[in-house]
Symmetry: C2
Subunit: 359 residues, 2 copies
């Protein structure tokens, strides 16, 4: 979204509130509800979505007025950030706004836990991402492969970054893509497996872009994968540990999360597939010896996943039930028990060629 | 250290053990003790060091024989890695070595917690870093600035990486440095502050290399900072939160840690200084309103730091005692309460120019 459009949305919000004040009414903001009752899984799109239920926050309602004031302060500060073309972390936003209201002993904010949820409210109310409000989350993740990324005037050939790779920032809206020679994107859960594949030159031999999420993917990483898929039409393949935690990381990148259901459309990659690790891999490749017993917390998590609407596909129910039945999990790095090169020379190329992937 | 030298150290270890077997003796390995009684703070070098106390691990001692076998397995696998010029994560090493000993029900390793400490033993016994044994820890951290890094045949101009920066890998032994135009290295604790300084083009305007540790610095990051200091003679300045956790992160990068005292010489940067945040900053810049009250856990940590020999400098005792007295901590990002640009345009340049730094 253009900066100018974000500014006009913020200006429009301010204008409405000013109007209501001029008319001696109670200024209010209408915000879609984000409680669980208003979150739906859209099966056709394969995405979590917010429904139509709305809340209203009124200045003249004593229960709302502090939050109302805070929401307006945030909106105003974001308008300043976008207008000045500055970005800020959500913590910097908090520090910028924290002050004692003149003539009172009241602080605008006492804690960042007050400002964070209001940022989400503002995103939903305006239909913009926080990145478009120039707010940053933490960054995490690395990219390497045959693509040139234009970032702030620099052209970065991501196939010429040795074994290091590009650090994925928290905001990737400004990235422009050039010279894309890759056939697909491989998203890898652990940094150690990413390193293994870089060492084996997997991205060069198999002509792909590799992204390491280093655990749960940060927003910048999710948005980048979304853009590589939607703008460049590159298929995206995920490669996680074979356990409920790895599968959940996959599902968040694919379909979104309950907490940020309003952003699934901009952050999610519904066509993503998962190449492994799967429970059938254990038998196929004879890896019983290098599995790990499920702990109680793993078992509980499997049962939770089985309840989620986005894990109701036949293949996923089978996979999760097989995991419960076997009582084990398997890590990406367990493939090293075959040989260090096995994952890069046999496991991934064969499974991807045969399209042995979970939906 | 040259690969060939590491291989000959491993070969020598194997040769000694074979000799003892041939002579019908009990093969043994001598390893410097790493218990607290054998760790000293070298005040002259400003580094934590291991003392001279040794332990002996004998194959024919029932209490030692499992560990002895495991140590030799690790040494043998590392020799293979180095000879083949392959690296592996410590988890991959574990999976590569885990198997059932033929004719028994005994596993070589039951858990990675068995192999990890033996890696440290081997490092100490041979006087090599685990990176030189081609073993990797997790990677974390980002670098940006006026330096060209040669990595596996690629020349990476780190001033041409937009706002993204280079992802610092777990092993940086193979890095070669070229075209260094920077005057110093600024090491930054939080990713968000690194982003702020990148956005303000601090590294270009102030001609420095910036490194983000993202919390406690990973080994690759510590080693890289060490090399930038020792090989290029670049001064290193740390910029952390003003709390016992930030100061501890600084002290580990500077002087090493108890757990890895044997590696301080290769990972530490004893001449490093700390520019902030300090307790006097709070008064100097009028930031009382954006401090955070110390929690009990913070207070306990301050008292622990006051016991460490490497925090006995007058300046540090004053700083830590002042923190206790004020009862507050202050974050890097609290500087945003002045203005987003304040840290880059006033705080850092002024303090660094005036050499207002802690030792």
């Amino acid at each position: 979204m253009e900066r100018q459009k974000v500014i006009s949305k913020l200006t429009h919000l301010g204008g409405e509130i000013t109007n209501e004040i001029m008319l001696h009414g109670s200024p209010k903001i209408r915000i879609p509800q984000r409680s669980i009752g208003n979150i739906h899984f859209n099966e056709k799109e394969n995405l979590l979505e917010l429904g139509d239920k709305m809340s209203t926050r009124s200045f003249l309602n004593v229960a709302h007025s502090r939050k109302f004031m805070q929401t307006i302060l945030i909106a105003s500060k974001c308008k300043e950030f976008v207008s000045r073309n500055k970005t800020a972390s959500i913590r910097e936003l908090y520090y910028q706004l924290k002050h004692t209201i003149p003539g009172t002993r009241e602080n605008t904010f006492d804690d960042q836990s007050e400002s964070d949820p209001l940022i989400v409210d503002l995103e939903i109310a305006l239909g913009v991402l926080r990145e478009e409000l120039h707010l940053k989350a933490d960054d995490k993740g690395t990219l390497i492969g045959r693509i040139t990324i234009e970032d702030s005037g620099d052209f970065i050939d991501c196939s010429k970054l040795g074994r290091s790779g590009l650090s994925i920032p928290s905001i990737v809206e400004h990235y422009r893509f050039h010279d894309v020679e890759a056939d697909y994107v491989l998203v890898i859960e652990t940094g150690a497996m990413f390193d293994r594949l870089v060492e084996e030159k997997y991205h060069l031999k198999n002509n792909c872009i590799m992204v390491s999420t280093k655990g749960q993917a940060a927003r910048g990483c999710r948005r980048l994968v979304h853009r590589l898929n939607h703008e460049l039409k590159l298929p995206v393949i995920a490669f996680t540990d074979g356990d409920p935690w790895g599968y959940y990381i996959y599902s968040v990148m694919k379909a979104g999360s309950m907490a940020l259901a309003h952003e699934s459309k901009r952050l999610g990659t519904p066509k993503m597939k998962l190449v492994g690790m799967t429970m059938t891999d254990i038998d196929t490749y004879g890896m019983e010896k290098v599995t790990e017993k499920l702990k109680d917390v793993d078992k509980r998590r499997i049962n939770e996943l089985l309840q989620y609407p986005w894990f109701q596909r036949k293949e996923w129910k089978e996979e999760l039930n097989l995991m419960s039945k076997k009582g084990v999990r398997i890590e990406q790095q367990a493939l090293a028990s075959k040989s260090l090169e096995f994952v890069a020379e046999e496991y991934l190329p064969e499974k991807i060629a045969k399209k042995q992937m979970l939906p």
